[in-house]
């Protein structure tokens, strides 16, 4: 049964059948999963079926409207817009996902150590978080971008480093309640180490909080990638992402070439809303401890 195959971390036990049922009852959350899955198929499988050249400019094919050969038209340097939406989406989704996960991992480590250690360690670590939250992320991003032009990997690291603060607070709060549980006290009383208490008891029991936080974090990160790229500080041409496409298409919007901004704009809105819906669904599904 599921309990047996749960493995060391008990991750399957984390998602028991009733949880899936509760999640499935939230129609919006299920729609979110479908939307995200469709976008992933579109961006990663799509190019295999609809192949376009996204590296070379083609000045004979600029600013064409939607037609049979270019379903979503072309942009100012002749790239096929539908192909570009897939190509840019890859970057947006990958960077958003990776940065969201990175932020969650950093926040989880930071928050669990602060919460578990308590006392002055906790005080110092959480004042660092307070200070970080007081500085707008966008401001930091602008400063960093002014100094250096990051590649995709660099962008992930930078976005991760500015958005781990909120998850760290959530995990710290969770750790504070978990560390006084009887099973942690029992472990400590028989001489178990701190690292064992954190790794074996506190983190696995915070998984629900962490997963929910990670989902919202990914949504935020995708939005953040769009911000920085829109400001021209994200991935550099010929590579692009949805934010960069918006930025490039903005001037064209005044001349009626709507196909340059409506598709990437819609894509960002849909994916961000979808991730938020999934996060809401997971939070409701997990939060059942209060129910009899």
């Amino acid at each position: 049964m599921s309990v047996q195959s749960a493995g060391r971390w008990g991750l399957v036990a984390q998602f028991p059948a009733p949880l899936r049922a509760r999640f499935a009852r939230n129609k919006l959350a299920v729609a979110g999963i479908v939307v995200v899955a469709l976008f992933f198929l579109f961006c990663f499988i799509g190019p295999l079926l609809y192949s376009t050249d996204q590296t070379h400019t083609d000045l004979t094919q600029v600013n064409l409207g939607p037609s049979g050969s270019h379903w979503l038209g072309t942009d100012a340097v002749g790239h096929d817009e539908l192909g570009r939406l897939m190509y840019g989406g890859k970057v947006s989704l990958l960077v958003g996902l990776a940065a969201g996960v990175l932020a969650t991992v950093i926040g989880t480590l930071w928050g669990s150590i602060a919460g578990y250690a308590g006392g002055w360690v906790d005080a110092v670590m959480m004042r660092v978080v307070d200070a970080g939250i007081a500085i707008p992320a966008l401001f930091i991003l602008l400063v960093v971008s002014a100094i250096t032009t990051p590649d995709t990997g660099g962008l992930i690291v930078i976005l991760g480093l500015v958005s781990w603060l909120v998850p760290s607070r959530l995990v710290r709060a969770e750790t504070l309640t978990l560390k006084s549980r009887d099973y942690v006290l029992t472990l400590r009383a028989i001489g178990g180490s701190h690292s064992r208490a954190i790794a074996r008891h506190i983190l696995p029991n915070s998984v629900s909080t962490i997963v929910v936080a990670a989902t919202f974090q990914v949504a935020d990160a995708i939005l953040l990638v769009a911000y920085v790229s829109y400001l021209g500080l994200g991935v550099q041409p010929p590579a692009t992402d949805w934010g960069g496409m918006l930025s490039a298409g903005l001037t064209a919007a005044y001349s009626g070439r709507w196909w340059l901004i409506v598709p990437p704009g819609l894509a960002i809105i849909l994916v961000v809303c979808a991730f938020n819906a999934i996060g809401d669904g997971l939070r409701d599904a997990f939060d059942v401890k209060g129910r009899g």
Partner: protein, 552 residues
């Protein structure tokens, strides 16, 4: 005279995610004015559901059938407006937890006045004056001043008195009390029961008392209804049910209740032992302070106690007496401010790293909460094997599995349980898994902090039996922390009575609990209600008499 509460064939069904669950079936009972009916049963028997149904307070997913009438009003079919007029006026309720029954941000005088004004057309000033009167009536000292206190400024017992004051504000004909003293210490419990009894007698209020504590029943009730799995299996006068139970279940339930042997009974002296072995754990002049500066709380003050090899020491006291803190100091979980702690002859405070781990490998721990004691993310096998993973790192998986199976059998659980998750187990099974985990390293000392106080009496009995048998077999010493004097009396050879962070007195269990030296211990023992209505009446009269003597 008409009954104030009548239930005829009451049924309650809860609709849940996994279908409909019947909680109460075919319950018929009545309470006459001035009479107390105790509804007893173990957890899950449906007794609280019956109490809630009496006031139409069932949660939204519950469906009630049958007839419930309070003072002539039909509750099952009544609308919300009609119920609101009824509640607090004709019938009112006292809940278990006084800390959550009061609004923390409103002064208690105002909270009581609000109940008065909800049902009667009196001016604000009159209601306030009445609130002061009510506070005086429930025995709050200096009620004029206390009326402007906030709930957090009162002790737990005082808060419960305020809750009772609110409940009787409109002189209801029926008082429903759901475990009104379960969250309180025994001495406070005795006072609250005295108060409720006086109120019921003075104003002819009928009381429906829900409780699991047979001593409280013996102390307070006129009649008893015993519930099992949603049905009443036996009803009768308190002397009949408690002394001459007719139903098999009632008999079993009463048999499982730990009885405090008191002077005047022929209690069987259990395990009397003279301390002779080498000290396993020793606290010498230990003081503990929580917090810093002027707000620091002195949790332990110059506490010395010793547990010797093979013996069981019971650590008793009321909440806040420091008994759990003392156990935690012995385990090295709480660092003492001053004094020495030695575990197996070594100084636990000086031991570091490997040496400390080696010392702690000789200790097993069982804590109170059966739910929080086991990590729900782990299987039973992983829970039990955890000490092995900490202390026997070289042990192979097969060997570990074998050892886990062995200790599970030791605590009378089937080996197959190892694969299950803690969620699938009952409270008693969980505590036995905790015990298996504590014993997996074959410890020389078992520290048990209220290991059975969250369990029903019948389950408590099996768990205590298992511990006692294993102790005889394996010979470990045991530091047994409990608030329940009857349990300690059965279980421990020596007893240490704590009060306000100090050791009040200690000695062999039988002589200490039967012939206590200090007035506090005497008071503590006198306050424990015994599940024998005749004996309990005598004890109560003696206690009240000595109380007025002391007060005079």
């Amino acid at each position: 005279m008409n009954n104030i509460l009548e239930m005829e064939n009451l049924g309650v069904t809860f609709s849940t995610e996994s279908g409909d669950v019947p909680a109460v079936r075919g319950v018929s009972l009545r309470v006459a004015p001035g009479e107390t009916l105790a509804l007893v049963g173990e957890s899950g028997s449906g007794k609280s559901t019956v109490a809630l149904a009496a006031l139409g307070l069932l949660p939204g997913n519950a469906r009630a059938s049958g007839g419930v009438s309070v003072g002539g009003t039909d509750v099952v079919g009544a609308g919300e407006a009609e119920l609101a007029r009824l509640r607090g006026r004709t019938a009112s309720m006292v809940f278990q937890e006084p800390a959550t029954a009061l609004d923390p941000l409103t002064r208690i005088g105002r909270q009581i006045a609000e109940v008065v004004r909800n049902h009667r057309d009196v001016s604000r000033r009159e209601a306030a004056a009445e609130a002061v009167q009510l506070l005086r009536r429930v025995g709050i000292p200096d009620p004029e001043r206390r009326a402007s206190s906030f709930p957090f400024q009162l002790s737990g017992g005082q808060r419960q008195r305020v809750v009772i004051a609110m409940a009787i504000a409109n002189s209801p004909g029926l008082l429903v009390a759901d475990e009104p003293t379960t969250a309180l210490d025994v001495t406070v419990q005795a006072e609250i029961l005295d108060l409720l009894r006086a109120l019921a007698v003075d104003s002819g209020t009928g009381v429906l008392l829900v409780t699991h504590n047979m001593g409280v029943v013996a102390d307070f009730a006129d009649r008893v209804a015993v519930m099992l799995e949603g049905e009443i299996v036996e009803t009768g006068a308190v002397e009949d049910v408690l002394l001459r139970p007719a139903h098999e279940y009632t008999r079993r339930l009463l048999e499982a209740v730990p009885r405090l042997a008191v002077t005047g009974t022929t209690g069987s002296p259990v395990r009397e032992e003279t301390p002779e072995g080498a000290p396993v754990v020793e606290l010498r002049g230990v003081s503990v302070r929580f917090g810093r500066g002027p707000r620091a709380v002195r949790a332990l003050d110059d506490v010395s106690l010793t547990v010797r090899a093979g013996e069981t020491v019971g650590l008793v006291g009321e909440s806040g007496s420091g008994k759990s803190t003392a156990a935690r100091v012995a385990l090295g979980l709480v660092a003492p401010e001053s004094g020495d702690v030695s575990l197996f002859g070594a100084d636990l405070r000086k031991a570091r790293g490997r040496a400390r781990r080696a010392l702690l490998a000789g200790v097993g721990v069982v804590l109170q909460d059966p739910v929080a004691s086991l990590d729900a993310r782990m299987s039973v096998a992983e829970c039990v094997a955890e000490p092995l993973r900490v202390h026997r790192r070289g042990m192979g998986a097969a060997e570990r599995r074998e050892r886990v199976g062995e200790v599970l059998e030791l605590v009378r659980l089937p080996r197959e349980l190892a694969r299950r998750g803690p969620r699938e187990l009952s409270g008693g099974q969980r505590q036995r898994v905790s015990l298996a985990r504590a014993l997996v390293l074959a410890p020389r000392l078992l520290v048990a902090d209220e290991p059975t106080s969250a369990l029903d009496v019948s389950v408590q009995r099996t768990v205590l039996e298992v511990i006692a048998e294993l102790q005889a077999e394996l010979g470990f010493a045991c530091l047994f922390v409990s608030h329940d004097l009857a349990v300690v009396q059965q279980f421990a050879g020596r007893v240490v009575v704590m009060r306000g962070g100090r050791v009040e007195e200690q000695g062999p269990t039988m002589s200490t609990l039967l012939h206590p030296e200090t007035a506090y211990t005497r008071r503590l023992i006198a306050a424990v209600p015994v599940p024998d209505p005749v004996l309990q009446r005598e004890r109560r009269e003696r206690r009240v008499a000595s109380g007025t003597e002391a007060g005079a």
